[in-house]
């Protein structure tokens, strides 16, 4: 009887608590009582000391730092929020099976392109600017646009992954080139590659890599712009057939390989870190390997070919899943807010992440900070013109980006390199493949 009575009391207490939570869920800026504009004190939804599940695929040294930062948040945040992180090398497989089973993380960190795969499981987080102290105009618009569909925001940028041109200064010097100045145009790139190549020393001037789809995509985009865009009729259209920029890239790559100025390999990273490549195109992660190997290198934006100026990038961001309750969602917002804000010591995790790993920032306030400006490496990757479009290989709203990168781009480069196929014919073939992909999204 006594046990029954306690159960009833507890159940009643839980009901009251849950009803109280629901009733005040419309707005919550901070915990406790908040002052309104006219000075009145209103009761807003309190941040709950909840545990949120945070999944990502950062298995490298970046993962170690992420663990440290998450631990810091767990110990420092005043809301009692606990972020429980799960790092997996096979995040996609893990997410797919978890979502299918109705389980999974509250917060997930992945590429903005993943929103096309897991869109049904992501919440609109555009109200984060109302529910936290984050300022929308502090975020570079091109990157938040990349993570949005219309008015809905699905990811908050966390890391901007662009590709850059790296050159080995010592090899430049040995070839009689200015070691402080990388190539400004693709014609210069080809010219420099020829000068640097030294077959006797197994040194190649150029480091284009057919097996590296992302490198190929970033470079192709500089030559022939976006592979898929929206037509005047509002439908997606592929731009391969007759794309003179793409054809020019394929011919350039092929001639560099045939002349022996570019190795025929699916791994240029090892060669760059071994000091056997004069120039290559890659992401910021290459720098850690080159730093370790003691390579004296320079970084600059990839030369623009026939296409207009761009700042193509892949945006990695944090997304709140539909599995997160209102309280968990608010807790996720607090974590994202902490990540993008300065603490009492003036330290911002986002800025630290940029400087430690060499990723350009997506925050205008960080862009203005002295520490950021003083970092030559990260500044050389940063496009200070924040108005440049960030679309990467396809219009950022095109859901089939993954298929274009993995199914069409290899079909462009490899037949030209290995079967000596004509670049124009290859592009016509690619158009057919791309039309099938695009057609799926026009239905």
């Amino acid at each position: 009887m006594k046990r029954k009575l306690i159960s009833v009391i507890l159940a009643a207490a839980m009901t009251v608590v849950s009803l109280a939570g629901c009733g005040s869920s419309t707005s919550a800026k901070a915990s406790g009582e908040l002052a309104t504009e006219n000075g009145e004190s209103v009761s807003k939804k309190a941040d709950k000391p909840v545990t949120i599940k945070f999944w990502n695929g950062f298995t490298g040294s970046d993962g170690d730092e992420l663990v440290e930062l998450v631990d810091k948040f767990n110990s420092e945040n005043k809301y009692g929020i606990n972020v429980e992180m799960d790092i997996s090398a096979s995040l996609d497989e893990q997410l797919a099976s978890a979502f299918a089973a109705g389980d999974g993380p509250d917060l997930v960190l992945f590429s903005s392109a993943s929103r096309f795969t897991y869109g049904d499981y992501l919440q609109d987080i555009s109200d984060i600017f109302d529910k936290t102290d984050l300022k929308k105009d502090d975020f570079i618009e091109a990157y938040t646009d990349y993570c949005s569909e219309g008015d809905k925001l699905y990811l908050m940028p966390m890391e901007i992954v662009g590709f850059y041109l790296y050159w080995n200064k010592d090899l430049f010097k040995a070839a009689g080139l200015d070691p402080e100045k990388g190539p400004q145009t693709w014609d210069e790139y080809v010219e420099y590659a020829k000068k640097i190549t030294d077959a006797d020393k197994n040194v190649y001037g150029s480091g284009l890599c057919y097996g590296y789809n992302y490198q190929m995509a970033h470079t192709l985009q500089r030559f022939g712009d976006l592979a898929v865009t929206k037509g005047d009729d509002g439908k997606w259209k592929a731009n391969f057939d007759g794309n003179s920029g793409y054809a020019k890239f394929l011919d350039t790559y092929k001639s560099l390989v045939d002349s022996g100025d570019n190795p025929l390999t699916d791994d240029t990273d090892s060669m760059m870190t071994a000091g056997q490549l004069g120039m290559t195109i890659n992401g910021p992660w290459l720098t850690s390997g080159m730093d370790t190997a003691g390579i004296n290198y320079g970084i600059k934006a990839i030369p623009t070919g026939d296409a207009d100026k761009m700042s193509s990038a892949e945006v990695i961001g944090m997304a709140v899943t539909t599995l997160a309750s209102e309280d968990a969602k608010q807790a996720c917002y607090r974590f994202i807010e902490w990540w993008n804000s300065k603490d009492d010591n003036g330290e911002c995790p986002s800025e630290k992440w940029s400087l430690d790993f060499g990723y350009p920032t997506y925050l205008k306030s960080v862009l203005e900070s002295d520490a950021y400006k003083a970092n030559d490496k990260v500044m050389s990757m940063t496009n200070t013109d924040t108005s440049l479009r960030a679309d990467f290989i396809v219009d950022s709203a095109f859901p089939g980006i993954g298929k274009i990168i993995s199914d069409v781009i290899p079909q462009m480069t490899q037949p030209v390199l290995f079967d000596n196929k004509d670049s124009g014919e290859t592009l016509t073939e690619c158009q057919k493949i791309a039309d099938t992909i695009v057609g799926e999204y026009n239905e």
Partner: protein, 326 residues
Amino acid sequence: MSNTGAVTNTAEWEQKCSHPEYKRIQMKKNALSKTIKYLQSAEGSAYIFIFPSIILLMMFNIIPLLAAFGLSFFDVPITLDSAKFIGIENFKTAFSDARFVNSLKVTAIFTAIEVPVQVIGAMIIAAFISENNLKNKFFRAIYFLPVICSATAIGIMWKMILHSNVGFFTYALSSMGLGRINFFNDTHMAIFTVAFISIWRSFGISAIIYVTAIQNVNGSLYEAAKMDGAGSLRQFIDVTVPSIRPTFWFILMTRFAGSLQIFDIIYMTTNGGPNYTTESTVTYVYSRAFSSGSQMGYASTMSVILFAVIMIVTVIMNKRMNSEDM
């Protein structure tokens, strides 16, 4: 009084016994006691012992297999949250998909290289190390080492050793005047390179199974052969090989099925390149399911086709093996 009472009790008892509910309970009790008795028997307790394995087999083999069959008739994304029945459309697409057809061809070539070398090579090696002495035990351990290593580690290691420009082995060959061989990026050579790594990785297990079989061959057969003047080679061909035939078939069947499912080594070394010359069926299935398309239905269809191929090959081999036994 007591007699009357007894009669009354008997009548009540009979009435109770004839009641359908009583009969039902009794039947249940009998069935339960029979089941308990059966489970306590030798045959019944065997089922108890294999019960955990059956559960695991159902969860991780049978149910996913049936699910894959089912999914192959649907257009379904990776998250399985929406499914559209499309009949045999996926099967039609598969046979008109040049990459899938190419992947079947690559898988067949890989199997044709890997299986004979593995099955015959491991048998020859096993013949040399079958005797139980310290040297042979050492070599058995060495040959078995790659079997216990992860495919990821093996893939990375060989990728570095055979790298076209910074690889140790490539450099050594180049120093000997053999030129710089592009093991992973030559469209004609890459499949052989991948097959070599796969053989290197798994031939240890085949060799150990052969060693066990060779050690079980009746010693008197060798003595008789010796007395007839047979040398070591003749003994191997006429005594060892016929005696270990069941083991040979077992290894042949398992290697065949394994080769047709090759994935990990390819994924770690060439990822299907160059120009799709090493893209096996499972590699392509993986790319369709996880890498880009998230087409779980189509990926399941290709898996079902591969399953059918493996099943046909295995059944044929099994029949051949059984006919030899008879």
